[in-house]
Amino acid sequence: MSVVDVHVHLEGYGIPGINQNAAQISQFMRARGIERCVVMSSRAAQADPLSGNRILKAMVDKEQGMFGSLVAHLNRVDASLQAIRDLMSSRCFVAVSLISTNPSEPLHPLVADEVLNACRRYQKPVLVHTPNAACVEVGLHLAKTYNLHKFVFLGMGGADWRTGIAAAHQCVNIHLEISGALDRAKLPAAIEAIGAHRILFGSGLPRLDPVAVLGLIEDSGISASDQRRILGENAVKMFGLDADDE
């Protein structure tokens, strides 16, 4: 079974040996049976969008099975727009991540407009952190406004996962990534509401060890075909990963 982790962070973790570079991440993932992953730069999210995304590109270019999500920081719009212009056309970047200074606070829609307009021509999925209901609501607004983009709600609302599912139920261009609260009830509820084809496996590494999220899938009592979709098939299709592997 092909497994793709769509939510991985490069750098920015206090414990060494996990995610300081692409080789570490690859080794860590392979040890857990995860063949491919989509990585975003913590350096770009927390310090410098331009250099962070460039460093990520240099690492991802050399690492088979690893893809980038370009970080666009809404408090560093000029640097983020420059990074989008310079890097977004690269095949190694399969998505764009919208980030603000505090991930637990909602994005500001007016600022996000500027970045999303710059991303229109690339038509790559937009990743949005949604650790709570407030972030989900802003994500829903953006998904409705930019209905030609596919949006991935990272963490699917955290403990407010019902809000995440409700948003995805309202808006067909919203997809849910399942890290966040490891509540056994959420996957069956999400599949019932929106179907397994809009649900993606992700860990938020280093927030969670991917095996913890794999354990959630294992104990959720969902069918083998739904597991296959969530673990890899949906991500391969959404991010065009097979095409990029060739």
Binding site: I15, I18, R162, D183, R184, P206, R207, D209, L216, D219
Partner: protein, 241 residues
């Protein structure tokens, strides 16, 4: 095969979950993952009334040998009456749990400190949910003059340094693993305080037992440490045969 004891399970109604947490769901998960024993309590004791909850816990555990009864108390209603405490050990309870967030009180709360001093006479280990930075430090102040056996539940990567600092000071304190799911955290905890002071817990059946089990097994620990964390430590601490 490891002997597994889950020190953190629940059953009963839970608004945060989409359905009631059935005892059968817990037993099914235990069977799937070959968990030999689970320390459990009724959520009624957290959400409504400890007396009701403890009665429900006793009833459930009396029917299932693999379930170990855990009592809960609510400091917000404690005004010095210790008569209920006298029954806990004779009634078979092996541990006490406290839920500050769910019951809307703080660790730095005079009735909690008073109650903690009162429960010392039972000799039961005390497990306290400590989510949020600063709570463990508050707990060290509350318990600085006691030698109670304490288990810090829901320690996560944000509070691990605080927990380790506390365990350096208090030799009878331990860490429960249900929120230690970030890579490297478990290994760091073992390196700093030793495998003997880490106890396997999951929060099942609301949470997945597999999440916790996989995290322990992928933590890069030796087999002896894994065996202690998964079961031997809890058996020793709670005197489980």
């Amino acid at each position: 095969m490891d002997d597994i004891v889950d020190i953190n399970t629940l059953f009963g109604p839970l608004p945060a979950a989409s359905a009631d947490l059935a005892v059968d769901a817990l037993l099914d998960l235990m069977q799937t993952h070959q968990v030999a024993a689970a320390c459990t309590l009724s959520t009624l004791g957290i959400l409504l009334d400890p007396t009701l909850g403890n009665a429900a816990t006793r009833a459930a555990c009396s029917e299932q040998q693999e379930l170990v009864p855990v009592a809960t108390l609510n400091p917000a209603t404690f005004v010095g009456d210790t008569s209920a405490l006298d029954h806990l050990v004779p009634d078979g309870f092996r541990m006490l749990r406290f839920f500050p967030v769910e019951q809307h009180w703080k660790i730095d709360f005079a009735p909690f400190h008073w109650l903690l001093n009162s429960v010392q006479s039972t000799g039961l280990p005390v497990m306290i949910n400590v989510e949020g930075v600063g709570n463990i430090t508050d707990l060290t102040r509350a318990l600085r003059d006691t030698d109670s056996t304490v288990i810090l539940a829901r320690v996560d990567r944000d509070t691990l340094a605080e927990a380790i600092a506390a365990l350096q000071t208090f030799p009878n304190w331990h860490i429960e693993t249900s929120r230690l799911l970030a890579p490297g955290c478990l290994r760091l905890a073992v390196d700093c305080v030793g495998a003997d002071r880490i106890l396997f817990g999951t929060g099942a059946p609301a949470a997945a037992i597999a999440s916790g089990l996989h995290t322990v097994r992928y933590a890069g620990l030796d087999a002896d440490s894994v065996a202690r964390i998964l079961g031997a430590n809890s058996r020793r601490l709670l005197d489980l045969s």
